[in-house]
Symmetry: C2
Subunit: 421 residues, 2 copies
């Protein structure tokens, strides 16, 4: 039986209605920017497997480091114990994170990184004997699927069964040139009238909201107000981290730095699950006390896993290499040239770019999980390109090692698909 056939027996895929979407394409190998399926078809991985494999699939440099780590130390409890991969990663990561970030707390995915950040923010105030319980989030933000992360997400698609269990969240519109004064007033009002613990936001690019982008100077105005009122600021850089926006982190573009940053996805270089919640000394100090109870009693078994840390170290080394830095500039420039042409197409509406992230909206209404969206996806796959449209938004977030020829293949697939619509 084909892999696709065997898949149907026991696997329940994420974010999938299996009745309307019974078939899953069986990928058998991957190398660089290319995925290969069981029928020997090739696809350019135009979204880096959900923004993870940015240094390319099955990268020899990363594999060598990870295999060496597996031979030396696979795993050890991270309470009472430590190890070199976690220490080296902490040193390398703190070096490239915004200057105010001082401490790293490990977990296993973006959702738990956000749950950790929310718990840190709530307990920060609790430890200061202040009762603050409300979280403010951006409209259409997405932060994950655990109960805490789901609560702060404005975009979760079908939350009916869970809504009554959400933590206390208020939302503000994403600030822009037109609404800035209004949003500032609303934010200030919320802080004045409620006990606001934290503000969570995806800096510069809201990924799941179809790569919606906002300006650094506008979000900065909100962060300044948060700081004035000691509202803990949480930057969710799970998607934007590690070079995606043109700098290592989107927060670098924004003058006011966050108290807490959530990292995952490209953090572990597309190898295995890992997440980190980093924070400033101010946050950490609120937990450092003679009173045991003031500590942060959160933990996951594979916290700080040495194998995942070794992948992350290799990833940062690659990110800092001249080769990848040159590639980042090349791909960013290439997308700009593509944009100059495609944005004139009558079926294309808004287009936008931030570093490696390029998005265009079609002038056609589409449901997020509807037939038209599926038709787009299938059209790209038939042309040998893996792109996953978000409703009527087509976006590219290709591995940093994608060649010019491969980029052209992506652009051509988009042109042809739009023409055929």
């Amino acid at each position: 039986m084909s892999l696709q056939g065997r898949d149907k027996k026991h696997l329940w895929h994420p974010l999938t209605q299996h009745k309307s979407h019974p078939n899953h394409i069986a990928i058998t190998k991957a190398k660089g920017a290319v995925l290969y399926d069981e029928n020997d078809n090739e696809y350019i991985d135009g979204i880096s497997s959900w923004y993870t494999c940015v240094y390319g699939h099955c990268n020899a440099y990363i594999i060598d480091k990870v295999c060496a780590q597996m031979e030396t130390l696979d795993h050890v409890v991270f309470t009472g114990f430590t190890h070199k991969p976690a220490i080296e990663l902490s040193e390398k990561l703190i070096e490239i994170l915004p200057d105010n970030q001082e401490k790293l707390f490990f977990s296993d995915n973006g959702s738990t990184a956000v749950d950790v950040a929310i718990k840190m923010a709530l307990q920060y105030h609790f430890n200061h004997d202040e009762k603050r319980t409300k979280i403010i989030a951006l409209e259409n933000g997405f932060h994950g699927d655990t109960f805490g992360a789901m609560s702060v997400s404005g975009l979760s698609v079908y939350n009916g069964p869970f809504e009554e269990f959400f933590i206390d969240v208020s939302r503000i519109p994403v600030p822009n040139a037109e609404n800035l004064d209004e949003v500032k007033a609303l934010f200030t009002q919320l802080i004045t009238e409620h006990e606001v613990a934290a503000f969570i936001y995806e800096p510069l690019v809201q990924g799941a909201a179809a790569m919606q982008m906002h300006k650094a100077e506008h979000i900065n105005e909100i962060l300044k107000i948060a700081n004035e009122h000691n509202v803990v600021t949480i930057a969710d850089e799970v998607m934007t981290g590690f070079g995606k926006t043109g700098k290592n982190f989107a927060s670098e573009y924004i003058e006011t730095k966050p108290d807490i940053i959530c990292l995952s996805k490209a953090l572990s270089a597309g190898m295995v699950a890992m997440a980190i919640t980093s924070c400033s000394q101010k946050i950490y100090d609120a937990f450092y006390a003679d009173d045991m109870k003031k500590g942060f009693f959160h933990g996951h078994t594979y916290s700080g896993n040495p194998i995942a840390c070794s992948a992350a170290i290799a990833g940062i080394e690659l990110l800092q290499s001249d080769e990848i830095q040159a590639n980042l500039k090349r791909i960013e420039a290439s997308h700009k040239v593509f944009d100059e042409d495609i944005k004139k197409h009558p079926k294309v509406g808004n287009t936008r770019q931030q570093g490696q992230i390029y998005a265009l909206d079609l002038n056609i209404e589409m449901e997020r999980y509807g037939n038209l969206r599926d038709k787009l996806f299938n059209s790209f796959m038939n042309k040998g390109v893996c792109l996953r449209p978000l409703g009527n938004t087509i976006y590219i977030l290709a591995p940093y090692i994608t060649t010019d020829v491969q980029l052209q293949k992506i652009y051509t697939a988009i042109w042809e698909t739009i023409e055929e619509l």
Copy 2:
């Protein structure tokens, strides 16, 4: 600078008050049942690094499989795509899970496996147009640290800042010979008076509650009542799974099978983070519909990660090998012999064993995170054995490849430590 010194700069460890516990022992390598620190000290890993590395550290059989997988396919989106490691793992795992388990849903750690299980249970009723929102859990159960998992945990140590965000949970005592009728009556009353969606329990052994054990026939009575009222039953086998209790899963001892099982820890053989929430066809079918909304819109980026799946496949192959099966019997018998003697010690109170899990309580009151508990931990470490007492409970859950000589070293460390108290 020593690794221990460098550790202090940027790492925030889980479940740690850094002011009272500033020093973390730096482990530099591991092999089989032994951990080595940066000062060349050796420690038998008497708790399998939190019940993960049960086939031994840096196991060549597992490493070979994982490295081969890394060379072939590191990662791919698991929505719309599938791959051989996930398929093979699903076939192997379904073969050894209780017969009623049919589908597997991936996530990354025990907490998310529980959040997924709770969301499945809530949406199961929602999709059947039934409003059921209360969860019933056992007193002193522990299920993880994300908001959902924390809510159902009765044991979470310091929940002050978070309690008001918990989902709606009622607790029942762990059933035993004395209280069985009472607990059954309470459980029935809760189900009759409230809209109960699910019952979650750690089958046979409550790990974080200091390896408290209960009998299969008593918990079975509760499960029977749950089934009669269509209350979804969730077995949290994150700790008990994969041979710990003497069978592959603790649920095998209990006549009534759970609707949902949470798996992690030893699932991925001590290599990298991964979790699975398995379920029966009945649960899956409630989500399988023409209506997109009835699908389960939960997902984590590294869901079904091929590298983690390859480790899990190797782990199951080892678990089923004659060698490991013989080891399981040998270690279980060895603990029994040790127990015969130590239980007579005047400082020892209750002792208990379930397969590989051995626990003894000291006749001394201790705080869970107090000085006396730390003194015990340090005494074991000084004798070359890593055991992490839970309050006044000393327990052993050694790798399945621990030799008789290594077991004797563990037993001697316990004898000597108790004598010195």
